[in-house]
Amino acid sequence: MSIESRIKEYSARLDRLAERLKDEDSSNVNIYRNFLTFVSDNPDHTYYPITKLLTAAKCKDANQALDVANYFSVGRNALLNVTFCYFDFDGTDIRIDRECFIDSLNNNTPPVEDETGYPIDNFEPSRLGFYCNLISE
């Protein structure tokens, strides 16, 4: 499915979401729309680290950026592929799965490295993060 069709589909989903939330707080709908607009304006931009999600969706913190990443990465015809990582001291990315990431974020405990199944040694919470790639096929 092309990016254009995925964007169109998400746009329709957002309209329905906005309709449902019309009497409630819809700030999330706004940041989702911001992000969708950015992607349709810049279809060549295929990489979205946290800092770029912040500017593209005009959100105010990493939690909102995570929310954007989640919204656009789950379900059928998702727009983003999210990679959860521990950004290790030596410059490498250690892959962790979504569940371990959420666990670690909520409890401030070392996440389990997907490759080895061991908890990360010397865990430094600020090094927990993610990045997204646009799904283009």
């Binding site: 931009h45 800092t51 950004f87």
Partner: protein, 346 residues
């Protein structure tokens, strides 16, 4: 580092022997040669030979070796330990605070420190005979002429791979880190040795800084500091051909995260600025996100100093770079210029 390079407990070694033992355990033969040249010490191409040379140099009555004294050997060893290859995190302090910090440190120079690491310094402690807790231990406060160095031992205990659930595979190791306070600049340099595994660098840097603050602030005074963010240095050095040749650079595009590594560590005159990277698909602009500069020694010495800024991609994307690595600075003055220049561009 293994526990093999330690002082035998049977006979009391001389100061010279302890210094040589400590120098050898740094594993910094070629840098010791650079520093040794300042005093006239003949650092050879193997440690056994160096020990013989230095003994002769010290005993010699030839005026050529007049600076070859045990005291200068001590300076040499300290210099190697505090500046061979380190990651620097820098904190700016106010002029008023810097004066006070130097005053408090001066009072500690040469004072005996009561722990096994200080007593064994610069040699390493034999962990077969003692089993200290992991942590930071002050070893020495030394006046280096251009500033005061607080040398700490960081003790690490970690399991061998596969032994994480057993106590048998726990390895204890010791690394020397330094906090340096220059006389001529109002800053605190936390220097983490590259001998320590990378994943301990930040942890040690934080722990050493706290230890240092405890030492200078015995009365509970903690000086406000501002940590230097070197992010802007990366682009600044990349665009400034006078700043040294670029032996290794990583360029990237913000739009699709395509990295281009420009690198030649084997050619002495390579510079990444001679190469251009073009994105043929979208014509995205490449920007430098990590850089290794090499600057030649001055005078008759041949060799180069390494200055590098290699933040994690994720850190760089957030516009941060919290440390600079310097390898083999020719002199303390040259090192000071490197740090001062980096701060000016930050």
């Amino acid at each position: 580092m293994s526990s093999a390079a330690t002082v035998p407990s049977t006979a009391t070694p001389t100061k010279q022997q302890v210094l040589l033992k400590g120098l050898e355990s740094t594993g910094e033969q070629s840098f010791a040669r650079v520093v040794g040249a300042n005093y006239g010490f003949r650092i050879s191409n193997r440690w056994e030979k160096t020990a013989v040379n230095i003994d002769e140099d010290i005993k010699s009555t030839n005026s050529k070796y007049q600076n070859c004294t045990v005291d200068n050997l001590e300076n040499l060893v300290d210099r190697v330990i505090i500046s061979a290859n380190h990651h620097y995190t820098i904190y700016k302090v106010s002029q008023k605070d810097a004066i006070q910090i130097r005053q408090e440190l001066s009072a500690l120079v040469g004072q005996p420190v009561n722990n096994i690491f200080a007593q064994t310094y610069p040699a390493l402690v034999d962990f077969n005979s003692v089993n200290p807790a992991a942590g930071e231990y002050l070893c020495k406060v030394a006046d280096m002429g251009d500033g005061i160095a607080c040398i700490f031992a960081s003790i690490v205990k970690e399991s061998l791979p596969g032994y994480r659930t057993m106590t048998a595979g726990v390895i204890t190791s010791q690394y020397f880190h330094t906090v340096f306070v220059p006389y001529a600049a109002d800053r605190i340099e936390v220097r983490i040795t590259d001998n320590a595994p990378t994943r301990y660098h930040e942890k040690h840097a934080t722990a050493i800084k706290i230890e240092f603050q405890n030492i200078i602030g015995q009365k509970g005074v903690h000086y406000p500091t501002t940590q230097v963010n070197f992010f802007k240095c990366i682009e600044s050095y990349f665009n400034d051909p006078t700043s040294g040749r670029i032996a290794h650079a990583i360029l990237t595009t913000g739009q699709d995260s395509k990295d281009a590594e420009l690198k030649s560590l084997r050619s002495k005159d390579y510079c990444a600025r001679t190469q251009q990277v073009v994105d043929k698909k979208n014509n995205f602009n490449y920007v430098c996100r990590a850089i290794l500069l090499r600057k030649p020694y001055t005078g008759i010495s041949t060799g180069e100093m390494d200055i590098s800024f290699f933040p994690h991609k994720n850190t760089w994307e957030a516009n941060f770079c919290w440390c600079v690595q310097v390898k083999k600075p020719q002199t303390s003055a040259a090192l000071n210029l490197i740090i001062t220049d980096a701060i000016a561009r930050s």
